[in-house]
């Protein structure tokens, strides 16, 4: 799958999680942490809940339902409900103010 444009980078605010809907694929979420842009599935890895209804705290994405905490960069889960795996991030880049991501490929090279 090639990179597709998902939003303007100005839409992505430090410490906030924004839900993005792209036709034909499950909803995705974007956030900015220490300047870097992160793109990940909006549906949490545990249940059918929206991560954009959660929040960011101390370098972690907090799911607003069962309070699982996912580290930016690694996606490692903390304080998880039983059966909740790590979060995966999509490869993404900022090209002149437009954010592009490969939505079927995990960001494994970090």
């Amino acid at each position: 799958m090639s990179m597709i444009e998902i939003c303007d980078s100005s839409q992505i605010i430090e410490g906030e999680i924004t839900k993005i809907t792209v036709d034909g694929i499950p909803p995705i979420a974007v956030s900015r942490y220490e300047g870097g842009i992160f793109v990940f599935p909006d549906t949490c890895p545990h249940a059918d809940e929206s991560l954009s209804e959660g929040w960011v705290e101390d370098g972690r994405i907090i799911c607003g339902v069962h309070f699982a905490e996912f580290e930016f960069e690694t996606g490692e889960v903390h304080n998880r409900p039983i059966g909740c795996p790590n979060l995966t991030f999509f490869k993404c880049e900022d090209r002149n103010g437009k954010v592009f991501a490969i939505l079927n490929e995990e960001k494994t090279d970090v």
Partner: protein
Amino acid sequence: MCDNNSCGSARPNMKPVYPKADKYPEFAKLVDEEKSQVDRRVFTDEEVYQAELKQIFARAWLFLAHDSQIPNPGDFIRTSMGEDDIIVVRQRDKSVGAFINSCPHRGNRVCHVDSGKKSRGFICNYHGWSFGIDGGLRGTDGGVYDKDETFEKSEIGLPPVAQVQSYKGLIFGAFDPEAPSLEEFLGDFTFYLDIMLDNDQGGTEFIGGAIKSEISCNWKFPAENFVGDILHASWTHQSGAQAILGGGVDLGKRYDELAFQASIYGHGIESNLDKVGNTRTLGYPDLVDYVFDLSEKAKDRLGEVRARAIGAVSSSNVFPNFSFLPGQNTFRVWHPRGPDKIELVVWTIVNKNAPDHIKEQYRKGVMMTFSPGGVFEMDDGENWEYSTKVNEGYMTRQQPLHYALGVGTLDEERDLPGIVHKGSKNEANQRLFYSRWAEFMKYDNWDDLQNSKVTLPQNKKQQWSD
């Protein structure tokens, strides 16, 4: 309920339920205002008790927390309104929410701890139903309900306490959506609350956590004691006072001129206005100096009379079950736990601007006097327990109780708000407390409740509403 396809066509209605009050004229008659006596069934009868939970605790404004206990979003404490378990939590917009601590799925408690900081929400242990700090259902254990198209998350939540309001740092809640505002409920009694809440420009805070205990007594014995029973002090507390003060309880040389009881809507205060009589019992000379100084400075804020009341021999109760002692700086709630049991929660209040060593002396002083191991609380607890327990005797509980001290001492001249009586050794406030109790039994609406016998005389109302 049934489970074939023709049933279950209507979805569950999960709106919170706030039942209307009723009328219990036969229970109201247990308070005999003509003869100044009270029938002991008010302390023992299970049906009367259940009527109290419905008529009083499901309607009146009840104390929940002090602002200082939950300063930041997500900060919460668990408390009670009557026997209902309540979570009080600071919202992200800094307002305060209060919710019944019971999952709308199977009713399990969703919060088990007494208090916490920066809570993200509350998750039920049973099936993982998860609630935000706004009480709303965020999700369940995962997967199952999301596939059920009839499941509407947005309509489900922890049932909210219908109204939450605060007065100078004290947060109250009312289950009744039709209850008048908190300030209307308190009426001119705020004049007396300000003795504790507004004697210094910096406001107040609770310090040092809460002390909890259980006493095997009816909740009204402590409430009526604090509303206006200084009479017991010179007998019940005589030995404790001698140990701390080196002498008995003394209401001062200017008693006849200064001491009074005042009552409005069943809330009451008694004071001898001797400046430091209560503070002295905490046993720290520094505190006495602090209050003398504070009293002098507070004249501008509060006027002469209330400046004298800050540390005076005095006690107070906000109807139904929220009490405080000026001078000793303790606030407390007597939560009912059946007709013959209470859970007592005690806090220490101080002025935010007070020096640290003064705050610490108040904290220790309250522990040494008005905690389960405190000199004075031990005295009281035993009396209230036996006042309750003896009524297990069938013949005993047929016998009336005498509440007639100070009949005919109404003071219509005194320049103070409320229904004022001469002398603090009086049972006037107790009679008015039970009159209010009877009104809550008798009336099913707030219009009658707020225009009843225990309200202010019309001329005074005008005078003090300016």
